[in-house]
């Protein structure tokens, strides 16, 4: 399972693909998830990354891949834009 709910922690494991963005979005919005754990993930599709960026859950875990660990994760952890109120 690439997107796995473990209590209040959502674990992204292995390679997360385009379709996973949908289940990730649904889980983040409905099931009171407090944390997304990336330590077991090997790759993330752009749509998955985008969902994390847009929905802004707390993200933890150090993935093994150097790209994820050194470049993507820091970019995700950067203070996100505040969501604009009714434009």
């Amino acid at each position: 399972m690439t997107v796995r709910l473990d209590g209040a922690v959502l674990r992204l494991e292995g390679s997360c693909h385009l379709e996973d963005a949908e289940s990730l979005t649904a889980l983040l919005q409905t099931s009171g998830v407090s944390l997304v754990d990336l330590s077991a993930c090997q790759s993330l599709h752009g749509a998955v990354v985008q969902a994390l960026l847009a929905l802004g859950p707390r993200v933890e875990g150090i993935p093994a891949s150097p790209f994820l660990r050194d470049l993507l994760l820091p970019a995700l952890l950067v203070k996100r834009q505040a969501k604009p109120s009714n434009l």
Binding site: L18, E22, H45, G46, F67, Q81
Partner: protein, 630 residues
């Protein structure tokens, strides 16, 4: 601006170095090259900060240097004029640091320089070559990076077309920075659509442009590129293999150093716990296993601590580089002539040391010029060169750095100092008479003595040699002075190079605990009653074939005088080569600790090497046995 100030200073120093080299040898091509590079880069940066006057002056300097290089008619004063121009830029940096802008007369100075060039028929003002500007604003996080900047804005429907922008980016070689943002602000009034791409991917790659562009060829219409060149390249004059360097926020390094210290402390209790585990019934195997782990942890923590200590080490060169110009300025204002020779700029010390040394060294140099340096006529009569010479030199001796300021001036007359000390009420006549010459000269560090007999505009600032001495002490070192009347004076700082990890023995004297440096400790022992013999000055006892003096540690530290115990514990330490036994109430522990030098009120307390923080948060004093016994 802060970055500009830091790099600008380095560039000025580089230019000055190049000019000094050229002063010695006009045909030093490497120095000429380095000087040009520095001036040119500096000039380029001034454009970013609207410092027109500085830019004009630098341009004029460049032209003049070019004329020199091309062998056009050069006057003897050329190098001096160039040095003066570079000095002026350095002074402007002072103004920028102090006031945030150039002084009022900067504009006219810059104009004058520019006119002089035009009038002399010099090269026409070159159009500034600007590197191709990117069409978007490079994110500030990319400041200081070099390579290819990338801005990839995938089409909103790219996911439907099978594009994975993150995978594409991940496949680009040598990406050094990545920034993700939203093309259109996230709108929480609409349900989130995970399949419409809303990413903006900005990145920097250190690979070549062709390689980077190739990685994006399938989405080339959605990507823009730009060349990134960092604002100022501070290279070392004269080549040599470039060290890979990073600019790191000093506060972060301090935090890292503190963490390394804390780690050393935190692991401290483990040895004891391992021992406890071992002594539990059935705990032997566990205890052994813990000991092994603890030993490994010890090694790692020690390594980390040493490495962090080295990370904080920076060369003295940038600090030293400020002084030649200052010396020239001060000398000029005093109507004297003096040159500063600098050695050992490549010696590395803890960054905190560099920061703390700036003012004391400046004061010592001022003193050398103000009081030490004679007028030109006096020097001539004494057969010295008209221009005074001051040598600022640094060298490493073991784990200490020795910094000397030596001048060939008038020296310090012991008799004069003695008289002054008496006059100022620092010493009585008898005490002053009892001091030998060396001790008399050392009086210049006494508070109350350090303002000069003749108050000049410089010395009137109230920064005295006593402050210099306490500064040295607060850094865990000391400063001494030697002098020969008529010949010159040498002020010598001895300071620890870096944070030191030392092993200590913790002992108890009554309620108090103290740490003794383990490398001084030879042995610990328990003396049976009757072994201790009272002697004239205290006690002694026989250890194997030697008779050792015995002193109470508690007494030395001034806490108490106790009777000897039935089975007296003693620590035998080597003090100046001789073994002495110190009576203590208990041996508590052996620890690795990070020694922190004394500061503040305790900086002058004799007998203390420093302090350290224990695992329980209390402060332990580490004693300097040699000083205690003296």
């Amino acid at each position: 601006m802060a970055q500009f100030l830091v790099e600008g200073r380095e560039l000025v120093a580089e230019a000055a170095r190049g000019l000094s080299a050229l002063a010695l040898r006009r045909d030093d091509a490497a120095a000429m090259e380095a000087c040009f590079r520095a001036l040119h880069t500096l000039k380029g940066s001034t454009g970013l900060f609207d410092l027109e006057a500085m830019g004009q002056l630098l341009h004029a300097a460049e032209d003049r240097l070019a004329a020199l290089r091309d062998g056009q008619a050069s006057t003897p004063g050329d190098i001096d004029a160039l040095i003066e121009m570079v000095d002026q830029v350095d002074r402007w940096f002072d103004a920028l640091e102090r006031d945030g802008r150039l002084p009022a007369d900067a504009g006219s100075i810059g104009q004058a320089a520019a006119h002089r060039i035009r009038d002399a028929g010099g090269a026409p003002v070159m159009a500034e070559e600007q590197p191709a500007q990117p069409s978007w604003r490079i994110p500030p996080d990319f400041d200081g990076l070099s390579g290819i900047a990338i801005r990839y804005v995938p089409r909103p429907d790219c996911y439907y077309f099978g594009d994975d922008p993150i995978a594409i980016t991940a496949a680009i070689p040598q990406v050094t920075a990545l920034r993700l943002s939203a093309r259109v602000p996230w709108d929480s009034s609409e349900p989130y659509d995970p399949f419409t791409c809303n990413l903006v991917i900005e990145a920097v790659s250190a690979a070549g442009r062709a390689e980077v562009e190739a990685g994006f060829r399938l989405v080339a219409d959605q990507v823009a590129f730009a060349e990134l060149v960092p604002a100022a390249q501070a290279g070392s004059a004269g080549g040599g293999p470039a060290r890979r360097t990073l600019r790191v926020d000093a506060a972060r390094l301090d935090r890292l150093a503190d963490l390394a210290d804390d780690l050393v402390i935190a692991k401290g209790g483990l040895a004891e716990l391992a021992a406890q585990a071992e002594s539990l019934p059935g705990g032997h195997a566990l205890g052994q296993a813990l000991r092994l782990r603890q030993a490994r942890l010890d090694r790692l923590a020690g390594d980390l601590h040493a490495t962090v200590g080295r990370v904080r080490l920076v060369p003295l060169a940038p600090l030293f580089a400020r002084f030649p110009r200052l010396v020239r300025d001060i000398a000029r204002s005093l109507g004297k002539k003096a040159e500063l020779v600098v050695e050992g700029g490549d010696v590395e010390v803890d960054k905190a040391l560099v920061d703390a040394l700036s003012d004391p060294l400046l004061h010592v140099l001022r003193n050398a010029l103000d009081h030490g340096m004679e007028e030109a006529s006096t020097r001539r009569r004494a057969g010295k060169a008209e221009a005074g010479s001051i040598r600022l030199a640094a060298r490493v001796e073991g784990d200490q750095v020795v910094i000397e300021v030596a001048d060939d001036g008038a020296g310090i007359d012991a008799a004069t100092i003695r008289a002054l000390a008496v006059k100022r009420g620092v010493l009585t006549q008898e005490d002053a008479a009892r001091l030998d010459d060396v001790a008399a000269i050392d009086l210049i560090f006494a508070p109350g003595l350090s303002t000069a007999a003749a108050v000049t505009t410089l010395s009137g600032r109230g920064v005295g040699m006593d402050v210099v001495r306490s500064a040295a002490a607060s850094l865990g070192g000391r400063v001494t002075v030697t002098s020969a009347a008529g010949r010159g004076t040498q002020v010598q700082f001895r300071l620890p190079v870096a944070m030191t990890l030392i092993q200590i023995l913790v002992v108890a004297c009554g309620e108090e605990r103290y740490g003794l440096p383990l490398d001084a400790v030879v042995e610990t022992a328990r003396l049976a009653p009757g072994r201790v013999v009272p002697i004239r000055a205290g006690w002694a006892f026989q250890l194997r074939d030697q008779v050792l003096p015995l002193v109470g540690l508690g007494e030395l530290v001034g806490t108490r005088r106790a009777a000897l115990a039935e089975s007296q514990r003693v620590v035998i330490a080597k003090v100046r080569g001789e073994p002495i036994a110190f009576a203590v109430d208990a041996f508590v522990d052996r620890l690795d600790i990070a020694l922190r030098p004394m500061n503040g009120l305790l900086a002058h307390a004799p007998g203390m090497l420093g302090t350290t923080l224990l695992a329980d948060g209390s402060v332990l004093m580490i004693l300097d046995l040699a000083e205690l016994v003296a």
